[in-house]
Symmetry: C2
DNA sequence: CTGAAAGCGCTTACAG
DNA sequence: CTGAAAGCGCTTACAG
């Protein structure tokens, strides 16, 4: 009499139907809230569902209906607070819309990305939100994913016809550079990132634009590449000062790089915000509590995550609309790392 | 002739079978790598799979086999770097074992947790990794999840027969307190957290133990409760100093609280690591870059995530073994916030 | 308003 | 070594 069951005795619609002398079809209609079924019947079924502790098997329903209630989210790694916030925003909006988030991490490796996507696709996601790993090959990804599953690209554009949610990298870097120009700097470096990444190229473009508008051209030694990690950035700090004229400030590819640069400066007896100005990009939580706090370009990754979810949901509603290209706003968040108290007067125009 | 298909023209086993004049059964055997099928047949099938760009529908296979390849991960929120790292570790190990992570966030609300779990369970996860929201009701969760799906509890114990992965809270707080005692402090506060959370109680126990071993008893005003957020902690800072004897050091419930306390101290003209010693708990990434860097109890959340995944996988292998209770190691990470250069000599025994 | 039947895409004994 | 048939848990026309 008790509805307790052995480990594999799942309660199914058939059990419920039997339990109240109806057909599976009718029980299914109750489940899906159909107005067809008699009010009294509905009550009877609902009681039986409760009594037997029924749990809906969405996978079976999805199979039959040829729909899916999952959306895959493929990002670099949750250890990166930028992506963690982004993922939180995605999950929040997807959950609100009744979808479940299928998580995948690439570790910034195109190979792992291929494997992870291959595995996720077998779970038949309704859509995919993908922040491509560095070095991703658009054509290869396109061949893997096929045309059946819509993809929203975030952050890095690829040569595909997929929807794309971009950060306004160019404008962000322009704002950062203009901020330093306003504070009197004339020798401003662009520090970190790799030229083959599109986001890095765009940020460099914004930086150049702002300099050009002020009648300035960057010296080659002000353009330092390095992997976008704190450690690499700290190690490359010296490269800023090997040749004259050395910069008095740097726009960094992102906050991780900026924090690394600040550590590198400290190690060389300099202080960010005191005798060298530093601006980051992303506004990760650490930017608020670093020493000194980091002036940076805020992109609100959590809001970007919500936006990405809305875009893919929109695409599910209208699969045949033309591909979209959305540019998310950014804003400058000024903190102490861009103070310039001790830049020698001679360096200020 | 081309394998291109309309939006809902999924290529199925039937298509492949037709394509090479075999039965679905044989194609299925090829897919699952059965040694039964003739080598030449296998080659033919594999070519056809490639030609038609077949993608396996794991959901259909799982339905038929009565298995599941998903594991649900339910945590507070990815904005919290502790949980983000934990989730990264979980996902890493689950992916390596061929499972996909189904993400759910509770936002530390028992109500949302109920809703999220209810939705995830419908996706038929093989297991659930749950870091319970504060105020979770074990019996209610047990009723919701039932006995079919194994659950691994992380961080917060509930009154259930589920597996449990604990941090060694008591030992961590003891290490933190002993560290301050060794540096000469005698008036040590325990700051932040709520008494009704089990992790907070355990950390307080460790703190008391260490004090007791040194022949000390905490004054009531050294035990300050507050929500485990930076903002709340900053706001409660004053409470430490309303009555004499005021503490010269604090063991904090976690790093967020410790960072908030440091901000609160600064706002009151004090400096952590200078005239007041602060120790945190968790070692979140921000602890390294705060000003001053935060001495804290490191729990390596990413390793904990991997461990949680291994534990639930173990449980899937052996569903009938007795519930396990695993205690993860912790260690003290000493940084500058627990320096005590200017604590008045009178305060040091 | 309710039921019988077919079918989603796969797997698995069971024959042959 | 390969195929015919049944079935996983659900939904959806179609009758009645």
């Amino acid at each position: 009499m008790t509805p307790t069951r052995a480990r594999h005795g799942r309660v199914t619609l058939t059990d419920i139907a039997k339990g109240c002398g109806l057909s599976r079809a009718t029980v299914s209609l109750v489940l899906r809230g159909s107005p067809l079924v008699h009010a009294e019947t509905r009550v009877r079924v609902e009681a039986e569902l409760k009594r037997q502790n029924y749990v809906y098997h969405r996978g079976a329903a999805n199979l039959r209906r040829k729909v899916s209630s999952g959306v895959a989210l493929v990002i670099n790694d949750l250890s990166n607070p930028f992506f963690a916030e982004f993922a939180a925003g995605v999950d929040e909006s997807l959950a609100a819309a009744g979808y479940v988030t299928l998580l995948g991490s690439t570790g910034e490796s195109a190979e792992r990305q291929h494997a992870v996507l291959g595995s996720l696709i077998e779970h038949d996601p309704a859509g995919i939100i993908l922040s491509p790993a560095e070095g991703s090959d658009g054509a290869r990804l396109r061949a893997l994913v096929g045309t059946r599953t819509p993809v929203l690209l975030f952050n890095r554009e690829l040569d595909t016809d997929w929807d794309f949610l971009a950060l306004d990298n160019r404008r962000g870097a322009r704002l950062a550079t203009e901020h330093l120009l306003e504070r009197g700097h004339r020798r401003i470096a662009f520090f970190g990132g790799h030229r083959d990444s599109s986001s890095c190229r765009e940020r460099r473009d914004g930086y150049r634009e702002a300099l050009a508008a002020a009648g300035l051209t960057p010296e080659p030694q002000w353009l330092i590449e390095c992997a976008p990690t704190r450690l690499e950035a700290a190690g490359q700090t010296g490269a800023l000062f090997v040749r004259d004229p050395a910069p008095t400030a740097a726009v960094c590819y992102n906050d991780a790089v900026a924090l690394g640069l600040m550590a590198g400066l400290t190690a060389r007896g300099r202080r960010a915000g005191h005798d060298f100005a530093v601006v980051g990009f992303d506004d990760i939580p650490e930017a608020q509590v670093s020493a000194p706090p980091l002036t940076t370009v805020a992109v609100d990754p959590r809001a970007r995550g919500r936006q990405a979810a809305e875009l893919i949901l929109q695409r599910l509603r209208d699969p045949d609309a033309a591909p979209t290209r959305t540019i998310a706003p950014v804003r400058l968040q000024v903190r102490a790392s861009s103070d310039i108290a001790s830049v020698p007067p001679g360096d200020i125009a």
